[in-house]
């Protein structure tokens, strides 16, 4: 188990759900893992899980919407481990509702954009200099299948569409420096976030209806895709939008994919 041997990976939002799944998998494959999360309880628990399994990890309390937090995250990681080879931008929120756009408040819009899009901007901004210095790196952004098709969560989809575009621009700008940037677009994954959304009952349709694979995804499904993109196995892959969605959106997404 050494597909990420020698790498130093920062994973945001690693205190829960998909981020925790990615952090555990990366540690299992030999990476040093920096668990960055706004929530100390969740973050510390992820670190404990990794250490108990024999991996190396430490927790950094970071609100990705605060530039100074993110700058400190990058600095601390360099001081502690000498480099940053992989950045996984996973921290994110979902309003969990399907309000139509004329019903969305400015505050709700700003909150989603701040965490899901500006947070990714900050993390890239402060980590990329370290990757340039190192002579390469891999950025894996957790967008969403919502970025690829037509769906009910307007602000959320817009924020994730922004992540997808930002990913492609980073791939374009930094390719010659051997820095790759790709996004994973998960479909429904069973996590505290999606359980909360389902529990509050505001989804107009069961999100599972449109899938080929007859189940919700698990954090591990996303973790394996992230592992592929973080590792040198994907050294010729950049600017990809990798769907890990149980075959969902199979009609709607095509217009974006085969243009």
């Amino acid at each position: 188990m050494n597909r990420l041997q020698g790498k130093v990976s920062i994973i945001t939002g690693a205190g829960s759900g998909i981020g925790r799944g990615i952090a555990e998998k990366f540690a299992e494959e030999g990476s040093i893992v920096v668990v960055a999360d706004a929530s100390p309880a969740g973050g510390e628990e992820t670190v404990e899980l990794i250490r108990a399994a024999g991996g190396t990890a430490n927790f950094q309390q970071v609100d990705v919407t605060k530039a100074e937090d993110v700058e400190r995250l990058a600095q601390d990681t360099i001081e502690r481990y000498g480099e940053i080879s992989v950045l996984v931008n996973n921290a994110g929120i979902s309003s969990g509702d399907t309000l139509r756009i004329h019903e969305v408040t400015e505050e709700a819009w700003d909150r989603i954009m701040n965490v899901n899009l500006k947070g990714v901007f900050f993390c890239c901004k402060y980590v990329l200099p370290a990757m340039l210095e190192r002579g390469g790196g891999s950025i894996v952004n957790i967008a969403s299948a919502a970025a690829m098709g037509m769906g009910p969560r307007a602000a959320y989809a817009a924020s994730k569409g922004g992540v997808a575009s930002l990913t492609r621009s980073i791939a374009f700008q930094y390719g010659e420096y051997n820095i790759r940037a790709n996004a994973i677009c998960p479909g429904p994954v069973d996590t505290p976030m999606s359980r909360a959304a389902r529990a509050n009952g505001t989804y107009k349709q069961a999100p599972i209806v449109d899938l080929c694979v007859d189940r919700r995804g698990e954090p591990e499904d996303i973790a394996y895709a992230a592992l592929y993109l973080a590792s040198d196995e994907s050294k010729y892959v950049t600017s990809d939008m990798m769907l890990v969605d149980g075959g969902a959106m199979r009609l709607r997404a095509e217009q974006f994919r085969n243009n």
Binding site: G175, V213, D214, T238, S239, G246, G247, R257
Partner: protein, 268 residues
């Protein structure tokens, strides 16, 4: 290395290039690999390479455009290894239609459609029942950037576009049997065949006729790509291992570009 342990895999076009790299990587990850291609000498060479490295492989001579051949391929695979879990279609012909479409002989069109598109149909047709018996499986089809890009090889692009559409269609049909189907979409990968082709006088004439002088100085594809250099067969092989293995259990009906970040031509 055990990401494909116990999986019986057919790899077509595995006598050279990308197919051979995939076959070797599959074997390295613990799969039993059936090398299915036309050229016996090359196919057996791949088998030897795998066996020398301690892996398991068998050669079954197959022309993917021949129904009887493909039927026998699947039957013999099941007879030898007891089941079929993975089908990777890595066969293909290319480099034929770099000329103007009005000059493209009908026979060249047919050859590309028969090999690239119909060959995938036939292997899938016979593999699916065997995978159903096995309780599930994964189909990985090697398509091309030409299907996503605005390619100056329209007939080749059409044959690969058929592969992409067919794969997604099949994926939706066979999902209920726990079978997944995905496409890998490579751009230029440095293989012996590709190097030979790029050096041939006809390719230069035809291909470069559509290319500006600047682009001709290097290669049009290189200029379009954000990562430096060409890809290697192993780049495709790693993607194929991911899609063949249970690591991608939640991935189906997708197209995975492994193309160095080809720009201008791709919008996904």
């Amino acid at each position: 290395m055990d990401r494909l342990t116990g999986k019986t895999s057919i790899v077509t076009g595995a006598g050279e290039g990308i197919g051979r790299a995939i076959a070797r990587m599959f074997a390295h990850e613990g799969a039993q690999v059936v090398i299915a291609n036309r050229n016996e000498a090359k196919g057996k060479e791949t088998v030897e390479l795998i066996k020398d490295a301690g892996g398991q492989a068998t050669f079954i001579r197959t022309d993917v455009t021949d129904t009887e051949d493909v039927k026998r391929l699947v039957e013999e695979t099941v007879a030898i290894y007891g089941k079929l879990d993975v089908l990777c279609n890595s066969h293909g012909v290319y480099g034929l239609d770099t000329r103007e479409i009005s000059d493209l002989p009908e026979g060249d069109w047919d050859l590309m459609m028969d090999t690239n598109a119909k060959g995938v149909f036939l292997t899938t047709k016979y593999a699916v029942p065997a995978m159903r018996t096995a309780g599930g499986g994964s189909i990985v089809n090697i398509s091309s950037i030409a299907a996503l890009a605005k390619s100056a090889q329209p007939a080749y692009a059409a044959s690969k576009g058929a592969v992409n559409a067919f794969t997604k269609g099949v994926a939706t049909q066979v999902a209920e049997f726990n079978i997944r189907a995905n496409v890998i979409s490579p751009s230029t990968i440095e293989t012996d065949r590709r190097t030979e082709l790029a050096q041939s006088a006809q390719y230069k004439n035809d291909f470069l006729a559509h290319t500006s002088e600047d682009e001709a100085a290097g290669s049009v594809e290189i200029i379009n790509r954000v990562l430096p250099g060409f890809g290697e067969p192993d780049d495709i092989a790693y993607a194929a291992v991911y899609l063949a293995s249970d690591e991608s259990a939640y991935v189906t009906a997708t197209v995975l570009p492994v193309d160095g970040g080809t720009t201008r031509t791709r919008t996904d």
